[in-house]
Amino acid sequence: MLRPSNYNCNRGNCRNDMKMLRALDFAIQETVLYLDAYPENRQALQYYHQLMEKRRELAEAYERGCGPLTMYGNQSHTSWDWVEGPWPWEADAN
């Protein structure tokens, strides 16, 4: 079962996964803005799907081991991990 302490896990996996997730999401964000303006660009659309595939895998692993990323991601059936810290604006989360 998920424990809140997993969020800060000593193995450093959660921290590394979060770092990778931020990088992926930044790339996705920029690709989305490009696609908004150039929706017919197939190369950009392909790149979007490449990034999204990686994101789905990583987000799933993160939510399983570290805690929910959104309110839809609470994996545990025995504890409500969404409210467990640290929250993103706290130094410990970064």
């Binding site: 979060m18 770092k19 997730l21 931020r22 999401d25 930044f26 964000q29 989305v32 803005l33 908004d36 303006a37 929706p39 805690g67 929910p68 990323l69 959104t70 309110m71 839809y72 969404w82 929250w87 993103p88 604006w89 706290e90 130094a91 989360a93 970064n94």
Partner: protein, 140 residues
């Protein structure tokens, strides 16, 4: 609708609190060219946009501005952590502290609270996009 992502767009980890710096950076939260003004500008302009592409950009950029707002808030929160009254007294942050302590209240550096007067919304695509260019240099 919106869904919260429990992460910052870019990490914020500040070692040393600094109330003087916070008093300057707070303008990026609640000032005329801050992230709150930017998000309100784009998210409220989008309803009058006649083109899907532009509506999409305003929706996605306006949403991203909210993520920027959160990063600025994280900077301010961490810059003002665990400060004693002695550390605040005599700094430009002292007058803010009188009303808000270290709570985050969107104001400009001058202390004027956030105001929608900073934002232009005219229901006209050219007028609104020109406002965006003037406010943000570019809309992306």
């Amino acid at each position: 609708m919106w869904t919260y992502d429990k992460k910052l767009q870019y990490p914020v980890k500040i070692k040393n609190p600094n109330p003087k710096l916070a008093q300057i950076i707070i303008s990026q939260l609640g000032g005329p060219d801050g992230e709150l003004a930017a998000s309100m500008r784009y998210l409220n302009q989008r309803y009058a946009m006649p083109y899907g592409k532009v509506t999409g950009i305003l929706t996605d950029v306006g949403t991203e501005e909210l993520a920027h707002l959160e990063m600025v808030a994280a900077i301010l929160y961490q810059l003002t952590r665990n400060l004693s009254q002695e550390e605040i007294a005599g700094t430009p942050f002292a007058t803010y502290f009188v009303d808000h302590t270290t709570g985050l209240y969107p104001v400009a550096a001058s202390g004027v609270p956030f105001d929608m007067k900073y934002v232009g919304i005219k229901g006209d695509v050219i007028a609104d996009l020109n406002e965006d260019l003037a406010a943000d240099g570019a809309i992306t």
